[in-house]
Subunit: 354 residues, 2 copies
């Protein structure tokens, strides 16, 4: 296993080789996921459960708030399988869950769940009604106070319909987005998504206040983590943003906040790590998103794929389904810099599916 | 490699994945081991050396106080092989020895040996003459003052004839024991053991003082560690009791102490981890022992066996010999949550036997 450098240099990830990581899962619900067919990240009608089940599975290998692990209608298993498999082969020192507006709390003990009194956000086609400044400030404060004895943090997300809200966020903030945003679908349901984004954008004054825009078109995961990143610069916390275009949107929000206050950021201890499926995706372009940042950013993609597997559900990943989520891109890069082989990882993931 | 949950939930052990452990070996001698054929944990006539040799081998891969590593007459090698192999593949952060009454001090440097001025205890068929309250209080004090920079402690034992004293202890404290206690023999020499236990129990007033009973029928390992567990609740130290029915007896003593003083315990940071050979043993029942506790307890069993080995001495384990000891059940669960594979562990253990 290896990784490719999308932007920046290999040094940051190379430096983290063999070092200790805390895995932070940002688990959040946007009711945007209730729009029919907008996301395949979970059980239709019960997508609000996906982040809860992902947290449970990642920590315990069990899904407790539902009888079966989240599978999409076509049977694409959650990328939590990959993140969990890496955890079993070379454990992160620590897993903590950030409750950024869950409908249902994960049923897990011992693992820390950080609660911020954040509620699930609304549908963006109906005005998301997020107290954006408040959520952002909670992120700032968490970043300023967060301490770890580990060497770095892998920051992941699980939020169904999150690519739609990420796309809406970036577009509302006037970034070039056309064809740049990914989807958990192989065949991106761009009509539904675009209609939703257009409806969302129509409701806001795009020249208005940044946080008012975010209140209407974004999600808690993006807003909180933009604050978390900025707040944690005080401690120079090393953060690997584990995700694809949604994590790129987090960085774009950081960028817009800095622009609005003529601020600068030392981004040398930040990176983004994603999957090959995102990196090679013809229907999105993470590099083009990241190149719009005013600051430099290291970005990497794992070269892991399921070419060593014959399992039909896993093969769907190589055909373009799912692609990213639950920090699997970051987990795969972590696997690489900790000596896990493609063979053993493939075998471990397969062992979960029976 | 994986583990099975005997009681409680997976969360405690899952939370410890990848975390740092100190390995504490309780090394002790009860002269009960001098009763012919009562134990096969060592060299006949020299069983008192077994905990010394186990400590030496675990720490240094050498046996120094005897020319050869402890082998039973049938050639069942000590489970210290397993615990050592895990240590080589994924080292415990620290090994410390608790001298709970050794005849011969292990010849090891650097590794900390905690001395408590505890003498080997007598044969229980002759009244063990243990200063039980004093030993218990030493355990309490050690638990209250014990500090570690690691995340948890694996508490193991090496005490030949320890299943006999454990069985006598539980029976004297009026727990249901019939057929529940294990033996290092495949064919449990129940006549000798039962005669010994009966002789021991006849000498004591079973309605008398708890510590008077323990003084006569128990051993230093059990009494001290019951105190250690209770004392360490002050710091909420996470402890994995690494062992089978002997460690269950430690918990039963904790239970009796609590009953005698109308006390309660927060047992959420305690667990027991044992081997598949104990978990699947038809001649004992660790679950039935643990279910008699008034408090809840997490209990796990590794699924490791020697099915990948052709070594005749190791195959004896799969036939029911030895089963547990020197914390090998806890070491195997530690191996699982630290990504060690069955293949590499089997190979490592085989490498010790040549």
């Amino acid at each position: 296993m290896n990784f490719e450098t999308i932007l920046g240099s290999v040094d940051f990830l190379e430096f983290l080789r063999g070092k200790k990581a805390t895995f932070l899962l940002s688990a959040s619900v946007t009711k945007t996921c209730e729009i029919p067919n907008i996301s395949q990240a979970g059980i239709p009608g019960k997508l609000y459960l996906t982040p809860t089940l992902d947290a449970e599975f990642l920590c315990t290998k069990q899904v407790r708030s539902m009888p079966d692990i989240a599978q999409t209608p076509k049977g694409v298993p959650t990328p939590a399988l990959i993140t969990r498999a890496v955890y079993e082969l070379k454990p992160y020192s620590n897993i903590e869950v950030l409750n950024l507006g869950l409908e249902v709390l994960p049923q897990i003990n011992y693992f820390k769940i950080h609660n911020f009194n954040i509620k699930p956000s609304g549908r963006i086609d109906d005005g998301a009604k997020i107290p954006a400044l408040e959520v952002f400030q909670k992120g700032i404060e968490f970043g300023q106070s967060y301490q770890t004895s580990d060497d770095y943090v892998i920051l992941a997300e699980s939020i169904p319909a999150g690519t739609t809200t990420a796309n809406a966020t970036a577009k509302a903030l006037s970034y070039e987005c056309e064809g740049y945003f990914s989807s958990s679908y192989k065949d991106n349901p761009s009509d539904i998504k675009n209609q939703t984004i257009e409806k969302a954008l129509k409701r806001v004054d795009l020249n208005g206040d940044l946080f008012e825009i975010l209140s209407s078109v974004s999600d808690n995961m993006i807003i909180f983590n933009a604050g978390f990143i900025l707040g944690s610069r005080a401690n120079n916390l090393k953060i690997v943003l584990a995700g694809g275009t949604q994590m790129a949107a987090v960085l774009l929000v950081v960028n817009s906040v800095l622009r609005s206050m003529d601020g600068v950021i030392d981004s040398s201890n930040l990176a983004l790590s994603t999957t090959k499926w995102i990196n090679k995706d013809e229907n999105s372009n993470i590099k083009a998103l990241l190149e719009q940042l005013d600051f430099s950013i290291n970005a990497y993609a794992s070269d892991f794929d399921f070419s060593l597997s014959n399992h039909p559900a896993l093969k769907l990943y190589d055909q373009g389904e799912a692609k990213e989520g639950v920090g699997c891109g970051g987990a795969l890069c972590y696997a690489t810099i900790n000596g896990i082989t493609k063979e053993e990882l493939t075998k471990k993931i397969e062992s979960f599916l029976g």
